[in-house]
Subunit: 207 residues, 2 copies
DNA sequence: GTGCTTTCGCTACGAGTCGTAGCGTAATGC
DNA sequence: GCATTACGCTACGACTCGTAGCGAAAGCAC
């Protein structure tokens, strides 16, 4: 997961079951204890492994929680709902559903906070969580272009900035709604948000 | 600040200078150490007070950091730049400037993460930070209505939902851009964001 | 099978932080 | 002066941290 040693063919291999058990135990501990009260010793007990085993695989609490939370985003995909607006609503609803889970709420914000002072951790979050989300934006745009709802971008640089802007707006709004305003990103909210975002992109893009 | 005892007229009064020193020391510690390595004992030493004095005034690290970060948002105001778009850009740039400061980056996300499992803490954040920001949205809308750029809302309930949506979109996008994407919310970005947001609100609102 | 290598579980350890209690002193209102 | 509260200081048990050391287990090469 984090210490790939492709050259090591000999010796006892690491238990993949232990990896899964530790990550699952981490999520369970996040639900029951939250970030601050989560200890690696407790995770080890829940996973049924020794504390030293956890430390051999992860450098610390930050990295462990990033990997545990990242698995939650594996299920994200772009559903084909027929139109760009409906596709976006579908993705946003999926994202909101993940953020509604307590293990994501507690863990995600905490590691982002830690990442403000740890470049390596931020890079790890980017690689295992953010990029996985950003891929959805690209996939959705490609599908919309195939449908003819969006024109093929002429300026590559400008298109990249637009994708980044969309991503920050979508992820940021859902996270803020869910975690700061502490109100559900339900279908009604997502519908209103998507309408503003899409008409804004259409108007500002044509202007 | 947090333990108002208006009935206590007798006895030695609490030093207001100590309050300010502790909050300033907390922000300094956030800059130098970040959230996870910040300890109340260290804050006490920096502030030049005894550790017990800190514990007498704040229940714990969470509450202390909320109050310390909240003071950063005191300077927020709605500048009169002549148009709704320019006003919004001004506010967003102010918000981005605060989030660019390390004591805000480290502290804000951490307490939001803790608040996912602590209703009292979330209420404290709402009262001392979020509401202070949301007031800007209301002030900006009032000024735009006075200018005639926005119509007076007919449906009060719908208007309230719109304000909440705008607030989540603005704050969420800036936070995500700054902390997750780790790129500056500079004038160029803010300009593009504001254009999408405003044209989206105009189109979706008229539809 | 025999070895070599690496992982595993377990125990123990010093270091550091936590939040609190106790004490004498300082500062205010009556 | 007296009651009351805040302050600085010290000390304390409890807890978590991350690491080291050990013997046993599980693979792979031969």
């Amino acid at each position: 997961m984090q210490s790939r040693t492709p050259a090591s063919r000999t010796g006892r291999p690491r238990s993949t079951a232990a990896d899964a058990a530790i990550l699952a135990a981490t999520r369970q501990a996040l639900v029951e204890l939250g970030w601050s009260r989560l200890t690696l010793g407790d995770v080890a007990v829940r996973a049924g492994v020794a504390k030293t085993t956890v430390y051999r695989r992860w450098a610390g609490k930050n990295e462990l929680v990033v990997d545990a939370v990242a698995e939650l985003f594996d299920e994200l995909c772009v559903p084909d709902r027929g139109s760009l607006a409906a596709d976006i609503e579908g993705v946003v609803l999926q994202f909101a559903a993940i953020l509604a889970r307590p293990e994501a709420r507690s863990g995600l914000m905490a590691v982002v906070a830690e990442a403000t002072r740890d470049d390596a951790l931020r890079e790890r979050i980017r690689a295992s969580i953010v990029d996985r989300q950003k891929r959805l934006v690209l996939a959705g745009r490609a599908r919309a272009q195939a449908r003819g709802e969006l024109p093929a971008e002429a300026d590559v640089d400008r298109a990249a900035r637009t994708v980044d802007l969309i991503f920050d707006m979508v992820a940021g709004a859902v996270v803020h709604r869910t975690l700061v305003s502490a109100e559900p990103a339900d279908e009604e909210w997502v519908h209103g948000f998507t309408r503003v975002l899409l008409s804004g992109l259409a108007s500002a893009g044509s202007a």
